[in-house]
Symmetry: C2
Subunit: 492 residues, 2 copies
């Protein structure tokens, strides 16, 4: 992962967990809630990619908000640092302790209950340790949709999703994780519980605290419960695979798709030919939906909560008309609409297998950046030039959630180049990509957050004034720096 | 307005504006930007209802962010308090200085430029002093919708809308003001400028600062610019007027309307018969769309960005089918779909004239509260009983943005009762309504904010932990308490 090598450990509290504190932790969470064995701790202190490993005196697994509160209060009173963790699926090391960490890792995994589903009011109240897929399934059983959808959904937990403001493939229509939340319960750095667990769509009573805790990666408090918004279940879904002229065509086409679909565009994923070829090479059974003479493709999905009416025009009819118009306009070169569930699943499989295929292909570099949607083509164009200037044989396979302005700007190393050699080019390419995206008013981390990996990059690229405000807030809410210390921000 | 009489002035900075400071202010904003004459200051220091009047040594009208920054820095260095103001249309006194205020009032009215419209990217970058209606019109000229829509739109300014997280009649579909924003520029309490003016849909790089400044009513900084989201212009709009069984029927019906309309419900306004009768009494030309034997009505509007196709089913066909189903289900007793623009305008005129009609009717009480949508019927039922227990001859006329859980729980005084006598009952009724809404997990201020009017109510009803977090943030970002002091929070 680019940048990791540049990161030096920040100064964090190093108060050790004494046997007396351990006894008090055991008294709060019981033997079942305490992991001390090095082997058993390993999966918690190692990030899922296996690239970062830290330490923790104990993995503490409270089963209720009261237990979380008691654990945090104990740590607070003793100056002990806490690394909160959900499903441990983050890509930036936000949930992985630093090697110099001497405090505890607090896992929310036992707080995994759905507390209430209000299908008439379109809300669901849940504990932070619920697996994302469980929440999707629970909503579906009530004929509702919980739209957060991402690769790790089988193991990531909602508390982590909210703490990192997760993105995924449905942001275009439903927004990031923070947009799916009405209320939160948070355990603060001193152990107090903030009860903001309100199921209110409107509430103008002072500062909006929930948005401060979401995306803070556990550095300001620990999210323990949430009231989530639900939507109607899509009943008429139409996916299409488009060969397009270029990225500009994708932007223009998407701009018109909003109206043509009745504002029902649910996904718009841009893929390069290199991306698709890589999946076809490595993923058994994946089939190319369309052979065309172009470098650029779109997976476009429209979905409606209204079932297709007998004799009425459904999503696929509208899509067909839209694609015909776009062919005439020269933006689309060829297109196929999924006629069956199997065809649609195959299209999605290609998109979702890119990460797996890239791991099989070999060492690479990837940048999760965003920019104003209308500037994506310019970014891709200039970004490719910059990277190829540094390493002409690098193999780009850009893709992205184009409707969100989010490009996963990705490269495979040159054929035959090993990880270490590629690593020597990585700092220069990282700097070039980040310089470019910053000069274009974009973000160096669109959806994956900061964690450990991008600590120094944020420090470098963010204006001093903005970092100062963040530090002021961090110091005010966590004066002893015990909440996930050394993540997101350097305080010193 | 209930509660106002209960509020005692909080302790705020009282450093006066010396002639030397005045000279420096003049050097920053010029003669054109400085109002010192008492008569000319009056409209700025008086709230639009004419119920609150404060003081200011000077009304300062900077024309640029650099000028705002210089003015704030000057005040900061001298400990002088600042009341920021947009269109001065708030209902809670948030933009009105306290009578003991000795500092300046900073009006954003001269910063009224639309800086950029990106119609392909669906964004618009604007200065804080732009009138809301100007922004709606600008978007419309680009075939785009800026959906914020409320009674004061002809004079309120976007900076004030964002600082108060304004609501209005399209929240159900598009969200509150905070949901319409991608980026902000804010002048901080020390005069520094935070440049968060990013047109990014995704940006996970540290704490979300923009949501902290929105809804803070100018107590943490002054919003000077914003990047706003745009939507496709509705091309197929259908309004219907429904006589319904009761508020429960409204909730059930709305729950089904999301899917039936393709998630295209744009408004769902509940009105009581008393509400409609009051409008018919006082507003010349208003016509009752439907005479029915029921106490409850809904104005339901669906809108789609997709023009009605020749021969295809448009919004009104779907609405017709939906209403037929709801008649069968017994939720709707009678209904009429607007067939012409004039009919639709008449329906909306009734809804929008309620405030004007109530002023004509005489003294009254109104509570802007919210609760989980599915609990609205219970709230209305219990709330009416509580108020009638205290004053049996009071005349309720509840209405609300029911899709947002937001009820404007309103009462006219008993016939013939003067304002002063009604005022004697007001504290007891206010307390009963607020106690009830709080016990139901609701909000005592759904969309109008806190300002001066609800300072004591927030203090009374919010949990100590939550008030403590807010105070901690306020003290951290504005240690000298110069930004709109004595609003939202009591610090002492």
């Amino acid at each position: 992962m680019p940048g990791a090598a540049l990161v030096t450990a920040p100064s964090i509290p190093t108060v050790p967990v004494t046997p007396a504190v351990l006894d008090r932790l055991r008294a709060i969470v019981g033997d079942k809630g305490l992991i001390l064995d090095e082997h058993d701790k390993r999966p918690f202190v190692t990030d899922w990619r296996g690239e970062l490993t830290g330490q923790a005196a104990a993995v503490v697994r409270p089963a209720s908000t009261a237990e979380v509160s008691a654990v945090v209060k104990l740590c607070h009173d003793n100056g002990i640092a806490i690394v909160p963790q959900g499903g441990n699926t983050g890509l930036m090391g936000g949930a992985t302790p630093w090697p110099v960490h001497r405090g505890i890792l607090l896992s929310l995994g036992r707080m995994n209950h759905v507390l209430h589903v209000d299908s008439v009011g379109y809300t669901m109240t849940v504990e932070a340790g619920c697996i994302l897929q469980t929440l999707q399934d629970t909503a579906a059983r009530h004929d509702r949709l919980f739209p957060l959808s991402l690769g790790a959904q089988g193991s990531c937990m909602i508390g982590g999703n909210l703490s990192t403001n997760a993105g995924g493939v449905q942001v275009l229509r439903y927004g990031n994780a923070r947009n799916l939340v009405l209320g939160l319960e948070v355990v603060l750095a001193n152990g107090d519980v903030w009860d903001g667990l309100r199921a209110l769509k409107k509430d103008n009573t002072g500062y909006d605290l929930k948005h401060l805790f979401m995306g803070a990666e556990g550095t300001l408090g620990i999210i323990t419960k949430a009231v989530l918004k639900l939507w109607p279940t899509p009943k008429d879904v139409c996916a299409a695979w488009l060969a397009i002229r270029d990225p500009s065509a994708a932007i223009e086409l998407l701009s018109e798709a909003h109206a043509a679909s009745d504002d029902n565009v649910s996904s718009c994923e841009l893929m390069s030919r290199a991306c698709i070829d890589m999946v076809l090479r490595h993923i058994p059974g994946a089939q190319d939906p369309l052979k065309a003479e172009t470098d650029w493709y779109l997976l476009l999905e429209w979905s409606s909560a209204r079932p297709r009416q007998d004799g009425g025009a459904g999503m696929s009819d509208r899509m067909e008309q839209f694609l015909a118009d776009q062919l005439d306009a020269g933006r689309v070169l060829d297109a196929v609409i999924a006629q069956t569930e199997t065809q649609s699943r195959n299209m999605w499989r290609i998109r979702e297998s890119v990460a797996e295929a890239s791991r099989a292909e070999g060492p690479g570099l990837s940048y999760d950046v965003s920019v104003a949607i209308s500037r994506i083509p310019e970014f891709i164009d200039k970004g490719l030039k910059s990277a190829l200037d540094i390493l002409p044989t690098i193999r780009p396979y850009p893709l992205g959630h184009i409707g969100d302005g989010n490009v996963h700007f990705s490269f495979m190393g040159p054929k035959g180049m090993d990880r270490a050699t590629l690593g020597q080019y990585s700092p220069a390419i990282t700097r070039a990509v980040n310089d470019l995206i910053t000069s274009m008013g974009g973000s160096i981390s669109a959806e994956h957050g900061i964690g450990i990996e991008k600590l120094d990059e944020l420090q470098h690229y963010r204006a001093r004034t903005e970092l100062d405000i963040m530090r002021t807030i961090k110091r005010a809410l966590d004066p002893d720096n015990i909440m996930n210390p050394g993540k997101v921000l350097r305080l010193g």
